[in-house]
Amino acid sequence: MLRWILGGREAQGTVESAALFIGEEQPKNCFTEMQVLKGHFDIVRFLVQIDDLRFASAGDDGLVLIWNVETGECLFVLRGHTQQITAMTSYTFIRGGTAHTALITASSDRTLSLWDPDSGNRVQNISDLQSSVKCLLVLAHLDVWLSGGNELCVWNRDLELRCKMVHHSDAGISAMVELPKNFIAAAMDKEIVIFKLNLSGSDIAVMAMRHLADHQDTIRSLIHINDRLFASGSHIGELIIWDSVDWTIQAYEHILWEEPARDSQSEFKLNHQKQIERSIQHMSSDGEYIVAAVGSGLYVYNVLMKSVVAYRRTAHDSNILHTMLQRDSLMSCSEDGSVRMWELQDLPLPAEPASSGFFGMFGTFGRSSKQTGPPAKKIPEVPGLRSLELIGDLIGHSGAVQMFLSFKEKGLVTCSTDQLLIVWKDGELQSQLRSLAVFQKLEENQGL
């Protein structure tokens, strides 16, 4: 694999020149109020939004907690799983003219449960699974949902098994995305398997259509970008953009974070260099951009332009676990216990010879081109390269921040290894809302 190590190490320094320690003055950080939610007894790994007000959290203690994001009140504690929760999703369906939301959880105790978040009841429970479920996917238009593990099962809304497909691979399905025309892409170790759901009448059959074996290492993340594209990222930093319809590679990036070689540094540093994590732990997309969490760095890619937009090799002190992309800003949380907010800013002109030396870039348009290493062209100056500027960070958790969930102006929920959830809120907005509540109460009470 060719690495484009150009002479722009200093330039890289300028790109990442803004100190990662942003300090205490954060004018763009609106989260000036926090509320700590206690209730879990082990690592909290999953957050799922139920509606505008509620969300569920789940983790290694097997508990599922339903919270009100505005008040921070724990509405229900859903007990039933004896081991850690491995996957959770919400499932909205129409029944009797009204939309209901159910919560589906899967646990290491090889059970699947369907919960009613309005009553806190366990509606259904399946306990005779062969293996534990690692991922869940709801197909709303078919009114079914899928569970993936060592077997792929299709369930209807009442948790009745509609179809089952057993795989004999060790890895099992780690992630699934929905593709058009009732196709499903599932990540199984290094492969992406395309399944087709055949609907004949009320019967559903699942059929493996194709195995895409272009990744050279375990696939860590698989996301839906838009109707035409989906993306997968592997343990060694391969990022592949796939066509959703014909499953061809639209783009291939091999992100290789390179430690800037400091001449004075000794072999120890070189050893250290090898340890740099470049696994694509998480990706998120807004349909146009992808942000990939590569080790402790962030990498923003424009899928339309097929070009890198911005990157930051060390965005966190430790591996990034979750990212979110919104317009020109993005958020990331990491094992270092912090959430950081970034803004895509145009680089000041003239742009430094922004080196692409720390990632290999192949304008690949076919699957074959990957093997025939040499790049079509060198990109000395990536046009439109922007910088990721740290505009704020949220420090509160004392352990790795596993995930976050945005409720837009209502706040941001983070969950962590330290067993806590924190709701971060816009203090100014909350203050105004409280004022509003005060005047409402004044009016109700007819005075003080």
Partner: protein, 858 residues
């Protein structure tokens, strides 16, 4: 009947004060100064010629066997009374025979009749003894006593005449409570006694009947024995009838007991009852009533074995009279004693201190929206109508009442004794007994040297006081300010008819004690400054130099209920523009320094170092503790030039961590600073004085002041790690290297609050200074919170508009950006408190802001 003009005459000092001339006083030209400061630093400890050291309560009885005799004193300590002759004074107070009502056989009736006599309340002075007393007479029923009544009296005896006179109403209501406990217990005991007696009588009658039959059979109808027996039987019948009637009378007294058993609702006497009783007396056979009584007593007293009663055994003078405890139920008796103890404790000390604390409490009760911020919390909910008979020992949930029982502590009354939460029922008696046998004794002056200052029966006084204020007269703390700001629209007071200078009762039962202004007006009022200061605190700078007015004569705006009228809620563009008037910096510089020493001299130990009792977590933070903390605070601001920054951190809600090796040093600093914490909590929940483990994020939410151990152990390094991690949320005061790391503060508010060149020398003085400034701050935070137009309409798109309105408003309050953080934090606290009530939600959110901290060094 005593009308209100009489009461006014009675309570105005001029009217009786002039008439009273001390026969022992020297002519004007020979008088010496009343007390020499040199002789004793505390002129109040010893009253000139009283023979007792301090006020006490005397309970006496007019025994039918031995005459007036003292029963008990509170406090029950012979030293208290000194050489004071209790027997003599009992004679004095009991000789005021208020019992004008007839008990026994009223003319025109053959049957004894119980009068439910109202207590009488008399003030008398004994110049010889140097004693003045509020005397509360009451009667208890005793079947064995003459006329079935036993006269008792409770007297509050003080050397200070003014204290008795000025606190008459309060004393009256407090003693009425005690009296009610006694009387309701007594009614129960009396009814029980009657039931027993009735059964005895009935049993005797049946025995007699049998004997009479036997006599008739044996000796014929007209034998003398038979006639004797018949007469005896007739007497017995009559006696039974009388007793039944008594029982019916006593049980018809409406007595309801609350479910909890401890609390006795104060009975109200309905005028109709007397007539009912009269009717039934006229009709010879009121079977229905009798039957109910009978069935009642049968069901209740079935276990009782009747005894034969010898004829003519009723009056027996060598018998032992029942004790007071026997006359009442034991539990009622103890309740009474507790109540009396409470009274004694709450009226300790000089009158002006009592006034001050009363005003303090009354004002505090009006700021229930904001009082949680800096005021020591009182034990009962403000505005609640429920009267908890607070300090009773069977109510251990009131730990804040720190009646440590230090007899010398004159300022212990300051621990929020909630004397003014009086059961409304006491005062709002609906009617008076219609009985013509009126129970009013206007004045009796029997002994030559006993000046009866006046007396009136309580029901009259109730009318006089209660009838005056049908509407609530709650003057609001903020009314003065409100009036200026035109936020509240004054509505005319409904009752300007009376000009009582006596405390008023609001309809919801809260006492609005003496209006500060009317106290100031009293001649010879020694310490005006505390009142002035308090008056200033509440009414701004307008009131101070004004002629004192009574509550009702005062500005109508001061009498208003605090109501945000509809029109006030509507947005008015001019609102808030008049606040420039409110720049009350002068108010902050009022005579506080002169004032507070009048309270601090009481315990000179407060200013000594060892007296600084460290504030301990979990204990109630009492006012006393806070005053002591004032001394530490004073030392702190003198010692540390960055004290202002530290205090501004606390005021703006940024947690301050005091880091140090030595626990004592850290605790001392915590103790110095905790008075600046808004919303300290009843038990100081927001303070952690000594922590030796790393703190968590949730701790920052809970604690606003943390004393943290600096240790070299692994635990110490993790502590440092947590300090480093959460450094943006905290300020760190390192008391080993004497540095402070915190955001800068350049405002003037805290520099006034914590001026290291302050002339204040005493800790309690400084505490009052702080308290005054914080009260002012709180008032402004209140205005800021409840001023409609600076928060609404809420428009996210025009954020700047609202922000600028707020900034302008704060500028008009005299606050710059530096102070705005503090005001905003307090405002947030007020909002939350208002929305959620005083109950602290388990999960509060925690506000912070992203600002740069600097390191300050000495």
């Amino acid at each position: 009947m005593i009308g209100s003009p009489d009461v006014v005459a009675f309570t105005k000092e001029d009217d009786f004060g002039d008439s009273f001339t001390d026969p022992y006083s020297l002519p004007e030209e020979f008088t010496v100064p009343l007390f020499a400061h040199a002789a004793s630093a505390n002129p109040w400890t010893k009253t000139s010629y009283a023979k007792f050291a301090k006020d006490f309560i005397l309970v006496s009885e007019f025994s039918e066997q031995v005459g007036p005799q003292p029963l008990l004193t509170i406090p029950n300590d012979p030293k208290v009374c000194g050489t004071f002759d209790l027997n003599y004074f009992s004679l004095r107070i009991m000789s005021v025979d208020y019992q004008a009502s007839f008990v026994g056989h009223p003319p025109g009736s053959n049957y004894p009749k119980l009068n439910f006599v109202e207590d009488s309340k008399v003030v008398l002075g004994d110049s010889k003894e140097g004693a003045f007393a509020y005397v509360h007479h009451l009667t208890l029923y005793d079947l064995e006593a003459r006329g079935f009544v036993r006269p008792f009296c409770m007297a509050y005896i003080s050397a200070d005449e003014r204290k008795i006179m000025h606190q008459f109403q309060e004393l009256s209501s407090e003693f009425s409570k005690a009296s009610e406990f006694l009387k309701s217990g007594n009614r129960k005991a009396f009814a029980n006694e009657l039931e027993k007696k009735l059964r005895d009588l009935e049993y005797t009658r049946s025995v007699l009947h049998k004997e009479a039959e036997l006599q008739k059979k044996n000796n014929g109808c007209y034998s003398t024995q038979a006639i004797d027996k018949a007469n005896e039987l007739a007497n017995m019948e009559k006696s039974i009838y009388e007793h039944r009637d008594l029982l019916r009378q006593i049980t018809s007294y409406p007595s309801r007991k609350k479910k909890d058993g401890d609390f006795v609702q104060h009975e109200t006497e309905k005028p109709a009852e007397t007539s009912v009783i009269d009717d039934s007396l006229n009709s010879n056979h009121s079977e229905v009533a009798d039957k109910t009584v009978e069935t009642e007593c049968e069901s209740r007293k079935s276990s009782y074995t009747p005894q034969l009663i010898k004829a003519k055994s009723a009056k027996c003078f060598d018998k032992r009279l029942k004790t007071m405890e026997e006359l009442c139920n034991a539990s009622f008796f103890h309740q009474t004693l507790e109540q009396l103890n409470t009274i004694e404790k709450s009226y300790r000390g000089d009158l002006c201190l009592i006034y001050t604390s009363q005003i303090d409490r009354a004002l505090l009760s009006k700021q229930r929206i904001t009082s949680f911020l800096f005021e020591a919390e009182c034990d009962s909910e403000f505005g609640g109508t429920s009267k908890n008979f607070s300090v009773s020992s069977n109510n251990p949930t009131v730990p804040i009442l720190n009646f440590s029982g230090e007899p010398q502590s004159l300022d212990s009354y300051t621990t929020c004794i909630d004397v003014d939460h009086i059961k409304p029922g006491v005062e709002s008696m609906e009617g008076r007994p219609d009985s013509s046998t009126s129970d009013i004794t206007q004045e009796t002056s029997e002994a030559a040297d006993t000046e009866t200052k006046g007396s009136f029966s309580s029901d009259k006084s109730i009318e006089a006081f209660g009838g005056v204020s049908p509407s609530s007269l709650q003057t609001n703390y903020f009314d003065g300010l409100e009036r200026k700001s035109k936020v509240s629209i004054a509505s005319p007071s409904e009752n300007e008819s009376s000009s009582l200078a006596v405390p008023q009762r609001t309809s919801d039962g809260n006492l609005v004690p003496v209006d500060p202004t009317c106290c100031i007006g009293q001649d010879g009022f020694v310490f005006e400054e505390p009142l002035l200061e308090l008056a200033q605190e509440c009414y701004g700078d307008t009131v101070v130099n004004r002629e004192p007015l009574s509550l009702l004569q005062g500005d109508p705006a001061l009498q208003m209920d605090y109501i945000l009228e509809e029109s006030a809620l509507a947005e008015s563009p001019n609102m808030g523009l008049t606040f420039s008037e409110l720049n009350t910096e002068e108010v902050a510089k009022i005579t506080i320094e002169d004032v507070s020493d009048s309270t601090s001299f009481m315990s000179t130990s407060t200013s000594s170092d060892r007296a600084v009792s460290p504030f301990t977590y979990g204990n109630a933070a009492t006012l006393k503790q806070k005053k002591k903390a004032g001394h530490s605070a004073l030392r702190f601001i003198r010692q540390y030039p960055f004290a202002q920054q530290a205090i501004s951190c606390l005021l703006s809600g940024r947690t301050l961590v005091i880091l140090g090796v030595d626990e004592g040093t850290v605790r001392k600093l915590v103790n110095a600073l905790f008075i600046f914490i808004p919303n300290l909590g009843k038990y100081g929940e927001t303070v952690q004085p000594w922590l030796s483990s790393p703190f968590q994020l949730t701790d920052l939410q809970r604690w606003k002041l943390i004393g943290l151990q600096r240790a070299a152990s692994p635990a110490g390094s993790s502590i440092l790690h947590s300090l480093n991690r959460y450094s943006r949320y905290i300020s760190i005061l390192d008391c080993d290297s004497k540095t402070l790391r915190c955001p800068p503060y350049k405002g003037t508010l805290v520099s006034h609050l914590a001026d290291h060149r302050t002339q204040i020398k005493r800790g309690s003085t400084y505490f009052l200074h702080v308290q005054g400034m914080l009260t002012q701050l709180t008032a402004k935070a209140f205005l800021y919170t409840f001023c409609h137009h600076i928060h609404l309409p809420m428009d996210i798109n025009h954020q700047g508009l609202v922000t600028s309105r707020r900034t302008n408003f704060l500028l008009q309050l005299g606050y710059t950006v530096e102070e705005s953080k503090i005001v905003q934090y307090l405002s947030e606290l007020i909002k939350r408190h208002y929305i959620q009530g005083s109950s602290k939600g388990a999960n509060q959110s925690f506000c912070f802001n992203y600002t740069t901290s600097y390191l300050y060094k000495i």
